[in-house]
């Protein structure tokens, strides 16, 4: 029941990108979306003001002045431009990001998600997540379907403090692709070798399955 690996999860999301989109990728698995050959014509934006970055730099060819929002050394496409932080978030808040892809601790079928504060902690790590979640045209979430102890991360309501409310449009896990649909998650595509019953057992909210369920291409 392990399903997709991390790059396959990123690929499943990246396949939904459309040519010409401006895309912001969060730390972790989401950054892998820019390392896939699936999407040819995407403009990647990162919070630190880099517009139009490309794949990760080859080892030994890193530019010490150039990182993405995850601190990884990236390359630039010819169309690249650099702006300062206030202008970078002006782009975000004014709705020019077509999709933001983020990791999360929890996501709920009402479209809420939580990714900045763990249970019992005093502090948190918000970064640009709240700005992106509030204002991007689409919020896509990538996360492991369950916690290490097997507890579900896809829930009816988030237990942790939320990052934004009602904004998630697509959820990719190792088990499948889901769409928050109010009282449950629509299962859009299923990972190869995974059964619907396994998904239902691992999900903390109703899972709605279409008659013509597709399997994710890997």
């Amino acid at each position: 029941m392990s399903g997709l690996n991390r790059q396959q999860m990123a690929d499943a999301v990246a396949r939904r990108f459309q040519d010409g989109w401006i895309v912001n990728l969060g730390v972790g698995i989401p950054t892998m979306c820019s390392n896939t050959a699936i999407t040819a014509d995407i403009i990647y934006h990162s919070e630190n003001g880099v517009i139009g970055y490309g794949p990760l730099a080859e080892p030994g060819h890193e530019d010490m002045h150039l990182v993405n929002a995850g601190g990884q050394h990236v390359t630039l496409k010819p169309e690249a431009a650099v702006v300062h932080h206030a202008d970078s978030f002006a782009i975000i808040r004014s709705g020019k990001i077509d999709v933001t892809v983020m990791g999360a601790y929890e996501v709920a079928c009402n479209g809420d998600f939580a990714n900045w504060k763990v249970a019992g902690a005093l502090g948190g790590g918000i970064g640009g997540a709240m700005d992106l979640a509030a204002s991007a045209k689409r919020v896509f979430i990538i996360l492991e379907h369950t916690q290490r102890n097997g507890a579900p991360r896809l829930l009816t309501r988030c237990a942790l403090p939320v990052t934004a409310r009602g904004v998630v449009k697509l959820v990719a896990t190792n088990l499948g692709l889901f769409e928050p649909a109010g009282e449950g998650f629509n299962l859009l595509e299923i990972a190869p070798g995974v059964s619907v019953d396994e998904i239902r057992a691992a999900t903390g909210a109703p899972v709605l399955v279409p008659a013509d369920l597709k399997t994710i291409a890997v």
């Binding site: 730390v27 990162s46 919070e47 630190n48 003001g49 880099v50 890193e62 530019d63 010490m64 002045h65 150039l66 990182v67 601190g71 050394h73 630039l76 650099v82 702006v83 300062h84 932080h85 206030a86 970078s88 978030f89 975000i92 808040r93 990714n115 900045w116 504060k117 763990v118 902690a121 005093l122 502090g123 948190g124 790590g125 918000i126 970064g127 640009g128 997540a129 709240m130 700005d131 509030a134 204002s135 403090p161 939320v162 990052t163 934004a164 409310r165």
Partner: protein, 245 residues
């Protein structure tokens, strides 16, 4: 009468006179643009009850670079205003976090875009503005919100600084600066928000007029003190780290 030179000879001189209780903004995002040398000099300078403004209190990675955590460890900090007061990965721990959890320092956690915009507002004479960010979250609890065009927004206040510490790639004697690639990040807005901006510069200071006026990233009117970073090991120059797993 000529203006006084903005160029100072040492990091100690650059941070001299910073008062107890000052609010200091530190530019930078990840490694690029962080004023590591000025932050190290501030540890020695020793001002107390500081309010420190930055994207993060410091990274979890080792070897550890000068960060706000070091200032906290020395008892110099009353409060931090940052987008990260704990690590995003539950498995990491920021050096700052344990002092915060012990109640030794106050913290205000601010979304990164709100932080940038509050600094920009201070530098633009805007005392307050509305943003959609953080509406409906714990950060907005008990705070003033308002509807515009059917959408709810949160009122946020300008965040003026006494000092901005920034790092630039090139500078001329008038204080005109250029940043390289993602080194720009918070640095221009920190400088615009500050009463006094102190810059560590990666290259020798060039004569005024070395940059085309169209290619200046931060005008010299925002810059007050500059110091050239010496070669390693005297100066701090970030190197590649072991990749994280």
């Amino acid at each position: 009468m000529a203006r006084q030179s903005k160029v100072v000879a040492s990091f100690a001189e650059a941070v001299a006179g910073i008062e107890d209780g000052a609010t200091i903004g530190f530019g930078g995002f990840a490694m690029p643009g962080v004023p590591f040398n000025l932050m190290r000099a501030l540890q020695e300078q020793g001002a107390k009850r500081l309010t420190c403004v930055a994207n993060t209190t410091g990274g979890a990675a080792q070897p550890r670079m000068p960060d706000i955590g070091h200032l906290v460890e020395r008892g110099m900090v009353a409060k931090v205003i940052c987008a990260f007061t704990a690590a995003t990965r539950a498995s990491d721990e920021l050096p700052f976090t344990k002092y915060y959890e012990r109640g030794e320092v106050e913290a205000e956690l601010v979304p990164q875009g709100t932080l940038a915009e509050r600094l920009r507002a201070a530098g633009a004479g805007i005392p307050a503005f509305y943003t959609p960010t953080a509406v409906g979250t714990e950060l907005a609890e008990g705070r003033e919100t308002r509807m515009f065009g059917g959408r709810e927004y949160l009122l946020e206040a300008a965040l003026p600084l006494d000092y901005a510490f920034i790092r630039a790639h090139r500078a001329d004697t008038s204080g005109n600066l250029r940043f390289r690639r993602s080194q720009r990040n918070f640095n221009p807005v920190m400088a615009m928000a500050a009463r006094v901006t102190i810059v560590e510069v990666e290259n020798a200071i060039e004569p005024a007029g070395s940059f085309d006026p169209d290619d200046v990233h931060l005008a010299g009117i925002f810059v007050h003190r500059m110091v050239v970073i010496p070669p390693a090991p005297d100066g701090i120059w970030p190197q590649m780290r072991e990749p994280r797993k």
